[in-house]
Symmetry: none
Subunit: 137 residues, 2 copies
């Protein structure tokens, strides 16, 4: 997969150079122009990464897990299941917040509800319970 990154980057670079050459006189006349381009590229790259991480990558992973019956019985919401997955991975509240694109407080709320519904006192408890109940593999 690393190859495709490089390929993509190479194509982009090639296109950029081509356009730059075509428009050479106007655009490379000053360094300010270059800086401008650089900022645009960097800004949109960052925006893209951000969007990709939270906008695109989020809905996908929540396909399914083992036991819909147990989930329904416990009344776990979809969002709570996402948080549960993160707990399974041993992540901190802050990390979960960043990954899901919500605030720390929101994560704490979700976790608190998970603890209630799973009748667990700690997040580690919740993980153990979830495994027992077959909610996760």
């Amino acid at each position: 997969m690393g190859k495709r990154v490089l390929l993509y980057g190479a194509l982009l670079a090639a296109g950029t150079l081509l356009l730059q050459w075509l428009d050479y006189q106007r655009l490379v006349r000053s360094h300010i122009g270059d800086l401008y381009i650089f900022l645009i590229a960097g800004g949109f790259l960052a925006l893209g990464v951000w969007l990709g991480v939270r906008g695109i990558a989020r809905p996908a992973p929540r396909a399914f897990d083992g036991n819909p019956q147990a989930v329904a019985a416990l009344g776990l919401s979809p969002r709570e299941l996402e948080v549960l997955d993160e707990l399974l991975a041993g992540r901190s509240n802050q990390e979960i917040a960043d990954k899901l694109g919500v605030s720390l407080n929101t994560v704490k709320t979700h976790v608190a509800r998970l603890l209630e519904k799973l009748r667990a006192k700690r997040r580690g408890d919740a993980v153990a319970r979830a495994r027992e109940l077959g909610i996760v593999k």
Copy 2:
């Protein structure tokens, strides 16, 4: 959350407009310049999205199994393994202390060493790591 996307976009747009204004004479002289910028922005945006999706959505490749003795490789002591089992069960340090008949401080020491050896920052991390490494089922 949609608000933050808009906010981000708005800030970026504002910055862009500012720079464009500052560099007005040079860059807005022709439409070709605009097209150039647009392509750069779009290209890097796409690249960013792609990278973001790839970077996050990939599931960690399971290394090796080895419930046999990857333990030896990590240098885990017998007592540490006992504590690890308790961590698996989602118990608190105090509960572990009571169960193993040692003081809270001792448990904390064992847990701290486990975190080091498993290269984990949190106990939940340690649990996830232990599973990856096949130390436990």
